[in-house]
């Protein structure tokens, strides 16, 4: 266990050896970066549920036709399907096979985030209860669809891995916090590598739930806009192979440099107006990376487009970084993908570093004049060495990541 402890000191960098993504922008890295470049977004009026209100969603239409069959049929649900689609992009599965050869299946952890897992399956099942007994349909598979762990069980099964595994479910900070869990497991030598990331998919619970809270916008979300009026829910899956930096990595490799976690200690579903929790998370992430705020070239904001959330984040970011650091929320591209947003935006940041492109903010027309940070509306070319990516969720769960390029 020698060398495992960091006790507040900087953490050793870890490599994002491979990553894969599916959002409403498309499947894979090429479609994703093309959309970020051109400002093409994936938000459309919601036809997913016959909603009694208007809202836009970032829906992945292809997932409807996708099926998990054969040995995987028990896992068949929208969330696992979307995860399977993501795992098949950009040679990710092949990269895991090579890692399995190098380390052994039992030395690769699976730390996955999701908020609602396969809950859509149970929503459907509750509409088809036996009219006499009230029982669930016989084909309903609780363990492999509804249960919060089902997604990690599925990923571990499909990738044939046998290392430690669990799901982190901290609402919209879930797939950011898995970077922290995986980094600690590798530092403690519990595993040599980890598959991290996760998925969240559209379901009635989140559509009606966020509407009940009064935070769904009736137009595509407009983060940091003076007229912002709420979120657009999206669905997405993203995965990362995280491992120690070796000679196999080169200057194109993206590194995880720091993770910072905090709690708001304020309210279950609204952020503290002073942004103290988010500020603590960013400070802790910078400390773990051993970087000063001035070393950060771009901040990918949580920026969901709610009046209070964006204001609190503006304050937290300005208090720590001032107005010199370019910032944007990418929620206008694929919506707020809830539990998946942490890994989705980490991958957006990785693509931004590799392609020397700083993404803008579709639908944001006039930045709130009360805000003090340097908010970027239009994407532009820029060399980016270090980024901060923010994810904040219900229960006051905050997590910030620092990513950078290998030098």
């Amino acid at each position: 266990m020698s060398g495992a402890s960091r006790a507040g000191a900087a953490m050793p960098p870890l490599a994002l050896s491979n990553f894969s993504i599916v959002t409403s922008l498309g499947a894979g890295r090429a479609q994703t970066i093309a959309a970020l470049y051109t400002g093409r977004h994936g938000l459309t009026p919601c036809t997913f549920e016959s909603l009694p209100f208007m809202t836009y969603v970032g829906e992945v239409a292809e997932v409807d036709a996708y099926r998990l069959a054969g040995e995987l049929s028990g896992f068949d649900c929208r969330n696992n399907r979307l995860a399977a689609m993501a795992l098949q992009q950009d040679g990710f599965t092949g990269a895991i096979a090579s890692a399995r050869e190098r380390y052994g299946a039992d030395r690769i952890g699976v730390f996955i985030g999701t908020s609602t897992s396969g809950l859509l399956q149970t929503e459907t099942a509750y509409r088809h209860l036996d009219p006499v007994t009230g029982r669930l349909p016989a084909e309903f598979d609780y363990t492999r669809t509804h249960n919060t762990y089902a997604l990690a069980r599925f990923v571990r099964t499909i990738l044939d891995l046998a290392g430690p595994a669990f799901v982190v479910s901290t609402a919209c900070a879930a797939t950011a916090k898995v970077f922290g869990s995986a980094a600690r497991m590798i530092m403690a030598d519990v595993c040599d590598a980890a598959v991290i990331g996760g998925a969240d998919t559209l379901c009635a619970t989140t559509l009606f739930g966020f509407h009940a809270l009064g935070v769904t916008a009736d137009e595509p979300c407009r983060p940091f806009d003076v007229e912002r009026c709420g979120i657009s829910i999206g669905e997405a899956a993203g995965f990362v192979l995280l491992e120690r930096v070796t000679e196999r990595h080169d200057s194109s490799t993206i590194l995880l440099l720091g993770v910072g976690e905090s709690s708001d200690a304020y309210h279950m579903s609204s952020p503290h107006p002073d942004g103290v929790g988010p500020r603590l998370a960013m400070e802790r992430a910078l400390a773990a990376a051993g970087l000063k705020p001035s070393a950060i070239d771009y901040i990918n904001l949580h920026g969901t487009g709610t009046p209070v959330g964006d204001a609190a984040e503006d304050r937290a970011v300005f208090d720590l970084f001032g107005a010199a650091t370019p910032c944007s929320s990418t929620k206008g591209f694929a919506g707020h993908t809830l539990g998946a947003s942490g890994v989705v935006e980490a991958i957006f940041c990785a693509l931004s570093i590799q392609n020397e492109f700083l993404p803008g903010s579709p639908h944001t027309r006039r930045v709130d004049p009360a805000f003090k940070i340097q908010y970027v509306r239009e994407g532009r070319h820029a060399r980016i060495d270090h980024v901060v990516s923010n994810s904040f969720g219900f229960g006051g769960a905050n997590c910030s990541l620092v990513l950078g390029r290998a030098t």
């Binding site: 762990y149 430690p164 595994a165 669990f166 901290t170 009606f208 709690s263 200690a265 219900f394 769960a397």
Partner: protein, 282 residues
């Protein structure tokens, strides 16, 4: 990986707090099955206490007991929450409303449906801005939470509270996911021994093929509880702590692994009983 346990909280059927349960766990003949009674939390204001769902009440009860016993400040302490499925009643109510003609959800019900609801309320109740994780690993949620908490304590070199809990689903979900009883346990872990330390625990992850089978509890009712309630997989560890004996406890973790815990009590007044747990020569 070695950590120290300096506080314990417990709430389960016939297990009314850690202090009251020590006689039951040292001599399981004293165990009398009774529905889980959750003491009201003093940490929440009265209106919040009434509205709090069962997972929140359980987590706050055992967390409070462990911190009070150790004399540690929860506002400065990281926490890892682990549950096999969140709050069953809340999920059932939401699913029932969504299957009805009027699909209007209560905003409070919605925020209570997230897996990390107890973590959120714990942060609010203790004014803690320390990191709080919220894990699920189906039947292995206690083992996963323990692994995460121990690794975090060792890597970060700070105290970590593990709070694991499970509640029952109402029908029809209880048909497909039966849970034995509402149960919660809190373990306050430190990377170095403190004055309050009860025991040292060496934890290792082992392939199932080379590990012993899961350690049972030597009492039928408690063993049934262990087998039917994921958080109650902590019972063999709790029994060893209650008996203050050196013991090795094996806890299943996923299909292919086990967590093996070598437990060493820190105390001069070792009790002679071995409680049916294997005494380990060092």
């Amino acid at each position: 990986m070695r950590v120290y346990i300096e506080g314990v909280g417990l709430c389960g059927p016939g297990l009314d707090g850690w202090a009251a349960s020590i006689p039951v766990l040292t001599d399981p003949q004293h165990h009398v099955w009774a529905p889980t009674r959750v003491p009201p939390s003093k940490l929440l204001p009265a209106n919040e206490r009434r509205r709090a769902v069962q997972t929140v009440r359980l987590a706050l009860a055992v967390g409070t007991e462990a911190f009070v016993a150790a004399g540690r400040d929860p506002s400065e302490t990281a926490a890892v929450f682990a549950s096999s499925g969140g709050d069953g009643e809340t999920i059932h109510e939401i699913l029932s409303v969504l299957a009805s003609l009027n699909r209007e959800l209560s905003p409070t019900r919605f925020h209570n449906s997230v897996h990390n609801t107890p973590a959120g309320y714990w942060g609010i109740a203790t004014a803690s801005r320390a990191p709080a994780g919220s894990l699920c690993c189906h039947d292995d949620s206690f083992a996963a939470g323990l692994l995460e908490a121990v690794v975090q304590a060792i890597v970060e070199q700070y105290a970590v509270a593990l709070i694991a809990y499970d509640v029952q689903y109402p029908a029809p979900l209880s048909d497909v996911r039966p849970i034995g009883a509402a149960f919660a346990v809190a373990l306050l872990l430190t990377p170095m021994p403190t004055k309050a330390a009860l025991a040292g625990v060496d934890l290792r992850l082992q392939p199932k093929s080379s590990a012993a089978s899961a350690t049972p509890v030597p009492a039928a009712a408690l063993e049934t509880l262990r087998q039917t309630t994921p958080a109650a997989r902590s019972l063999p560890l709790l029994a060893a702590l209650a008996c203050r004996v050196e013991a090795t406890v094996t806890i299943d973790y996923l299909a292919d692994m086990a967590l093996v815990l070598d437990i060493t009590p820190i105390s001069t007044d070792l009790m002679p009983e071995v409680c049916g747990l294997e005494r380990v020569a060092r």
